[in-house]
Symmetry: C2
Subunit: 161 residues, 2 copies
Amino acid sequence: MDTVTSAQVINKDALLRHWLGHRNLTRRVIEAFPEKELFGFSIGGMRPFSQLAIELLSIGGPAMESIVKDEPLPYNEEALRLITKEQILAKWDEQTDVITRYFNQLPLERFSETFNLFGQYEFPIIDNIFYFIDNEIHHRGQGYVYLRALGIEPPMFWERD
Amino acid sequence: MDTVTSAQVINKDALLRHWLGHRNLTRRVIEAFPEKELFGFSIGGMRPFSQLAIELLSIGGPAMESIVKDEPLPYNEEALRLITKEQILAKWDEQTDVITRYFNQLPLERFSETFNLFGQYEFPIIDNIFYFIDNEIHHRGQGYVYLRALGIEPPMFWERD
């Protein structure tokens, strides 16, 4: 291939780095919460940040495994019984490895193929992956407000290492 | 090109559609705020949602124009004097057109090139574009908490039309 035909919007490795950078930042936000407020604090009837983190843990890794194995498994947040910050952070690190492993196994040709995620969301795989990342950014942004309301300075948005 | 070498993570048109979908949702969030609270309500010393929207308006369109023209202009939020919801929404629609026009003019080959955005952030153009989108999702997520705290149901996260 010459330079022109191989040009692309983003390559696969860069998208994974982008996602993992977001995961690093979200991990910092989980860490920034005091134990009690992580599980008990919320605003306007929303879920506490622990529950938002558990949602994220129920999506990224399980979804990537499901996509790569081509097995549409149901969404199952109930399976995760995490009751301490330490448990959530340990699961976060475990799932980062799961995401990395399966993302790397996904052939480039499959990103544009549709997949029936959780047996419910039939979209191109790239749209599903953007959804995982965007949903994490969305809920983490909510976590920033919780932290501010608690008088805690959140990590810088551009810290991704 | 055969099918294998032309496979890519995401194509240019799909990335623009993705961004514009997010802009549609953010527009709905601006609309959901009552006039007074859009400019006056906040939590934990943060900025009201009008100011977050003005930040977003100072980034997306101006940045895409700057990138396409290859002129690193400084960031200038002060230039936008928007004092009603109607003015913000009108500017939002105007900037959606600006983003669309310049995004379409950006050659595929340039996405991996670095650009010194606002004369300050020297990164590959694709990283800058992801930053624009991610920063919008981040602040909009904060807007969701403001709305919930005000007892207002925010739009569904997956509504992008």
